[in-house]
């Protein structure tokens, strides 16, 4: 056992244990760690956003190079639009904030719709047109049939123009079973994600802090 002598590791380890103490019950140590986390996170993101986004994209190019009309105009425009967003704090001028919001709303959907239509609609339809019989590979054949049946049954479940009765109701019910399986898989992955985060913290405590095991 080689206990860490680094203050940063100790602070990190004690804060981790402080947060874990909530599992027993809510307590002042947990509250302290929680508030510290919220405050530091906010400060961290402000600094990160300034140095990662505002400074390299606006401040440095605006003030760090000799003035040229074209170049600086291109930078002043987004600066003004960004400042307009703060006009929401002033009731008489809050209409100014609609301009930058309109720009964001105009650009992003245009950009995303084209990509989404290609990857999530056309390519997905293409990917679900599968042969029911793959010569010499019964497993692949079974998988293809299952996928197409599951897809059709689930689509029927989301078809609300007719009442889910009789044959339509039966197929919709099969669709529900397929959906349930997918929710189960998502839940299983979520459990794995949470356990992985716990493993990451325990590895840190055992390795970097206590020095019991080296990973």
């Amino acid at each position: 056992m080689h206990l860490s002598t680094l203050p940063g590791v100790w602070i990190s380890a004690l804060l981790t244990l402080g947060i874990f103490s909530f599992l027993y019950k809510d307590n002042p140590v947990y509250k302290f760690c929680e508030h510290l986390f919220v405050g530091i996170s906010a400060g961290y993101w402000v600094v990160l956003t300034y140095y990662g986004t505002i400074k390299p994209n606006l401040v440095d190019p605006l003030f760090g190079v000799p003035f040229t009309f074209d170049r600086h105009l291109l930078l002043v425009m987004p600066l003004l639009l960004s400042l307009f967003l703060f006009s929401r704090f002033f009731p008489r001028g809050d209409w100014l904030s609609r301009w930058p919001i309109a720009m964001v709303l105009g650009v992003y959907p245009a950009l995303r719709i084209t990509g989404f239509a290609q990857s999530d609609l056309v390519q997905q339809i293409n990917g679900s047109i599968l042969p029911f019989w793959v010569a010499g590979n019964a497993y692949a054949s079974f998988n293809n049939i299952l996928l197409v049946l599951g897809l059709l049954a689930t689509l029927v479940f989301f078809f609300f123009s007719t009442e889910h009765k009789g044959a339509i109701g039966g197929i919709a019910k099969v669709g529900i079973y397929f959906l349930m399986v997918s929710f189960g898989a998502s839940y299983g992955y979520t459990v794995m994600a949470r356990v992985s985060l716990l493993i990451g913290r325990v590895m840190f405590l055992l390795d970097s802090w206590l020095g019991v095991v080296r990973f």
Binding site: L23, Y24, W45, L48, T49, G52, T53, N57, V107, Y108, L111, R112, T114, G115, F116, Q118, S119, D120, V122, Q123, Q124, N126, G127, S128, L147, S182, A185, S186, Y189, T190, V191, M192, A193, V195, S196, L197, L198, I199, G200, R201, V202, M203, L206, V212, V213, F215
Partner: protein
């Protein structure tokens, strides 16, 4: 009240304690339950990198930050090791503001192991705000989107960036993703528009969302969470953090599955008693 219905009154802290012990003990003692078996998804990831000719340059996007290090870092490091072992050059970047230091760390560790030089064999272009806009702009010109690397050196002076203009210069995109912007956006903006082959290593929570992309061939391989990372580490024959966490993961999963079964039985028992 039967034993099973009494379970519904069980203090949940006993379950927390059990999960805690099932994670701590295997990690501290080093219990080995079963070897990690690579899945077809992880093999697809591995094969896609194996197919890249040595000497090529691959785009490695590390879109995550410290909050998902436990899941994303092992697969990021394994991918960098695999690429460098195969003498493939790396252009690293991040669309998460907290990502560049992690990319630095991964590239330096892997670079040190395989004797690779920063600027010559790999470069970290750092972070650029704009999400999909950055991806889209890179399709026109990468040097215009990232005029300097993370150290502030102009890309025109970086040997590994010579000849890199846009996506056409990469045979593969490797994305390590924690959410937005990440794998979904790379598929939508780059794979579908520029037809660049892509593999992804993602957090377990988001993995089911990407299975349709894998099934449709938009992703050549997929690593889901720590388990996916472990499978990939086995394939590159470099067991590391993810592989070491697998026994704790398996035991915790078995226990949680057992408790779900028990909880449902208890519910059924209580329902039966209520009907009586």
């Amino acid at each position: 009240m039967s034993g099973l219905t009494a379970l519904r009154k069980l203090d949940r802290r006993w379950i927390f304690l059990a999960v805690g012990l099932l994670v701590v003990v295997p990690l501290a003692v080093g219990i080995h339950i079963a070897p990690v078996q690579p899945s077809a998804r992880a093999r697809g990831f591995y094969d896609a990198i194996e197919k890249v000719p040595a000497g090529s340059t691959v785009l490695l996007a590390g879109d995550y930050d410290p909050s998902t290090v436990a899941e994303n870092y092992p697969m990021h490091l394994a991918a960098a090791r695999h690429l460098m072992r195969r003498n493939i050059k790396i252009v690293g970047l991040a669309l998460y503001p907290g990502g560049p230091p992690l990319t630095d760390q991964v590239l330096r560790i892997a670079g040190g192991e395989y004797g690779k030089k920063e600027g010559v064999d790999y470069v970290n272009l750092g972070y650029k705000a704009g999400n999909e806009l950055v991806m889209s702009q890179m399709g026109s010109s990468i040097p215009r989107t990232f005029p300097v690397d993370r150290r502030g050196i102009p890309v025109s002076q970086i040997p590994v960036m010579r000849g890199v203009q846009n996506y056409a210069n990469f045979p593969l995109l490797v994305n390590i993703s924690a959410g937005y912007p990440g794998t979904k956006e790379w598929v939508q903006q780059v794979v579908s528009r520029y037809h660049l082959p892509m593999v992804a290593g993602v957090t377990a929570v988001s993995a089911p969302e990407y299975y349709p992309y894998l099934q449709a061939g938009q992703l050549k391989g997929l690593l889901g969470g720590m388990a996916g990372g472990a499978e990939y580490e086995v394939l590159i024959q470099k067991p590391a953090l993810a592989t070491r966490g697998m026994d704790a993961q398996s035991l915790a999963h078995l226990f949680i599955a057992f408790m779900i079964l028990l909880g449902n039985l208890a519910f059924l028992g209580e329902d039966k008693e209520r009907r009586r």
